[in-house]
Subunit: 481 residues, 2 copies
């Protein structure tokens, strides 16, 4: 019979203002993993999270992950792991949940309407702040669920294992080995029955979804250098090879204006689309207007919903992120930059093996550069790579989640894939050998990684109910697999 959840739901509603305050405290800590000087804030955020859960009686540990690869002077932020209840109840299933407490960079000067590290709630209940939806809101959703059960006097339905990291926005440095170790017999995560990750978004703004696939991401740097120092373009323009001239030519050779990747061999690595697959896309609740609303423009590459969704989930894409070392400030500076580094990444899909992609990228970039016959130097390198992931949406883990969604939101969720990469998903699947579910809290207009990132208060509060409900449903879902 269906779980009794009314008391839990009422408790969540009663505590909602505390939950918003908890998120506000978390957003106030600028835990930017990509900026070296913010590392102490990332660590501070980890300990804030640990304290919150300890205050609720959970057993928590901050596990050191060593020094950061390629930046040996930097200590990685700890993995914050825990168990609730602190002592395992052998009669209950064990659910391993994951989230991350680090965030993307953000500056008011980037164009934010509000201070990025001050949670600002508008009259429509939109809660603006870096990390609000990616991923502090969902992480605190688990904390809120525990607190709401306690206040409601409702028994917690499962053993909850928690794994929260502080390097997700920088390639989850150091986490894979840790997870693999802790999933072995006798270790912290050994007894997980299923895994759940809340770190993605609804397709649109109305209908919840469960996600069973992710694209991978391989992030590259193209460094081109020549002169010993930046030069005055008046004095040296027309006499020396200019690194920027070479860099834009190389970057322009990677992808065309229609989004086609121009690197030979990449297309051939992609698994063919099946007829059955095409059917699935037709029924997804998504419209081109959903895309235009979240884009904030009508600059979509395709006219059809199906092709757009495939462009996001099913095919690889290549984005040029920017140039380091060139003149990037407002105004006019007549400089010839001596060393410039172009940054781009490729979103990967089945069956693209990251190592194969690297090989094709390195060969192509070196070939294009060689054709330029410039005297400048090239150094192309991989910054980090995360592999794509696809799971079975028919597993009881998904069935239980679907029931929880229907109970909280009153609708059956869409089964979707995601364009973004959460490499750790694949790691959990392989290390635990169990099914991994992606259960999103936020919606498509949350602007993760952008200016004015937000989480709607409704998604945060109902999302907290959803996470708790899912634990009740998975506790009793038949599972012979």
């Amino acid at each position: 019979m269906a779980p009794q959840l009314d008391a839990y739901f009422k408790s969540v509603d009663d505590l909602s203002s505390n939950f918003v305050e908890r998120l506000s405290q978390a957003v106030a800590i600028p835990s930017i993993s990509a900026e070296d000087e913010r590392r102490p804030d990332v660590v501070k955020m980890g300990h804030f999270l640990k304290k919150q859960l300890e205050d609720l009686g959970a057993h928590m540990e901050a596990r050191e992950l060593g020094q950061q690869p390629h930046k040996e002077h930097l200590t990685l932020p700890p993995a914050i792991i825990g168990r609730y209840p602190a002592k395992k109840d052998e009669s209950k299933r064990t659910v391993l949940v994951y989230g991350h407490y680090d965030v993307q960079p953000a500056n008011l000067s980037d164009g934010w309407n509000t201070e990025p590290f001050k949670l600002t709630v508008d009259e429509q209940g939109r809660m603006y702040g870096r990390g609000s939806t990616d991923d502090k809101g969902p992480v605190l959703g688990w904390v809120n669920a525990i607190e709401a059960h306690q206040k409601a006097g409702v028994e917690f339905p499962v053993n909850l294992l928690m794994c929260f990291e502080g390097m997700e926005e920088y390639g989850s440095e150091g986490l894979d080995d840790f997870i693999i170790q802790e999933c072995k017999p006798g270790k912290f995560f050994e007894d997980a029955d299923v895994c759940c990750i809340s770190d993605n978004y609804w397709l649109g703004t109305k209908k919840p979804c469960l996600t069973y696939g992710l694209r991978g991401c391989s992030y590259y740097s193209i460094e081109i250098s020549g002169p010993g120092q930046d030069l005055h373009s008046g004095v040296y323009g027309g006499t020396a090879h200019e690194p920027m001239t070479d860099l834009v030519r190389v970057m322009a050779s990677l992808v065309d204006e229609e989004g086609n990747i121009l690197i030979p061999g990449i297309k051939e690595l992609v698994a063919p689309v099946t007829e059955e697959e095409k059917e699935v896309y037709k029924n997804i609740d998504f419209t081109m207007d959903n895309l235009y609303e979240s884009l904030g423009s009508k600059t979509g590459l395709f006219e059809s919903k199906e092709r757009t969704l495939m462009g996001r989930w099913r095919f690889p894409s290549l984005s040029l992120h920017g140039v380091e070392g060139a003149f990037s400030a407002p105004g006019a500076k007549t400089v010839i930059p001596a060393k410039v580094t172009g940054k781009f990444s490729i979103r990967t899909v089945p069956n693209m093996e990251p190592a194969d992609v690297d090989e094709l990228v390195f060969k192509y970039v070196n070939d294009v550069f060689a054709k330029l016959k410039t005297k400048n130097k090239l150094n192309v390198s991989l910054q980090h790579a995360g592999k794509w992931w696809v799971a079975s949406p028919n597993h009881p883990n998904f069935t239980a989640a679907a029931k929880a969604v229907e109970r909280v939101w009153g609708v059956k969720p869409d089964l979707t894939r995601e364009g973004g990469s959460i490499p750790v998903t694949l790691t959990f699947e392989q290390a635990t050998g169990k099914n991994v579910l992606l259960l999103p809290m936020g919606s498509s207009t949350d602007a993760a990684h952008s200016i004015n990132e937000k989480l709607d208060k409704r998604n945060y509060i109902e999302g907290t109910k959803l996470l708790g409900s899912y634990l009740h449903y998975i506790a009793e879902e038949p599972m012979d697999q």
Copy 2:
């Protein structure tokens, strides 16, 4: 007969440590004209200069130039103008000198070995600091010359008119109209007999030169925008037109890796090279090693000295300076920038009319963009333009300067042109109707506009002697022109 200069020279040597201290005080003021928030420092620098000259008995005025075009909230820094002696001596010639007290942007993080705004002198007498050679050293050279005459009890040979501006590194905004006005009958600069500007560099590191030509500079912005805000490349990569993808394609179409400008019609605007002209280049004291030393690399476009000098003085060049709005920090950020602005400039030569160049640039960029068939928006615009200039090196103004160089440095100067642009040169020539001389103080390795900008102490002290000597020679040079 030759002027008596020994007492003046001794006085300069005796005061040399004071002169270095004066430069140190000037460098300490970060008078960056391209950065709005530094505007108060630019104004502070102007008043520092005014005070130095007033203390030496000069009549000085700070003339307001109004608000900054396109940035009406910003007041332009004043033109600091003056006359020494304060009361005109009708028996002497009047020399109008120009310099600028603003500097290029600079941050330690750009790669400086020392604090850019702290003058740091090494054991070889290299004085490092932003503005040391461009153009605070030369400007203070005039101040030093006045002081040295006073301390030596040597009569000042001419009436010196001074015009020092604070916007040279940002297109000399507002100065042209001011100069044109002040050169009219009854105005401040009406009685100038000749003009002298010390704001460029020797070709190499050993031999002084006199400069009779400059390239112009037309600086452009290519703004490409699409989405309403920055996007997550995982979520939107493969579904939307990306501004960076379009921008690198447009930038790559402007110039090739050998420095050839790809904009149709530009080459046709350039005056043909004459045989007589080719001879001049052969005799210039310059070697490819001079280029390589100042480049800090061997990444020159050409193998011959003549072709290299023509690339610098005689032909146009196009440099890509950078991209505003994209990811420019170290590390990895998976962002699709919503609006990016590519910056580039073209160095112009006779007979390229800036208006014609604009027309060719705008048409070409719009055509290339149109061919992309992207849904993003393009806005290409001119940030600022300064026209090229070529004077007669046979004028007594140059003859007098050549004698001064020979007296101070013991060698005949090369007659050179410059790749950089000092638009005000042309303005002075047209407004006064008199000959304009460019008399450089620094050398080719000074790294103006780059990190680790410096001025050799020897160039600063001997250069101060040179500026003073020039005034003595021009005072008595026969001038029937």
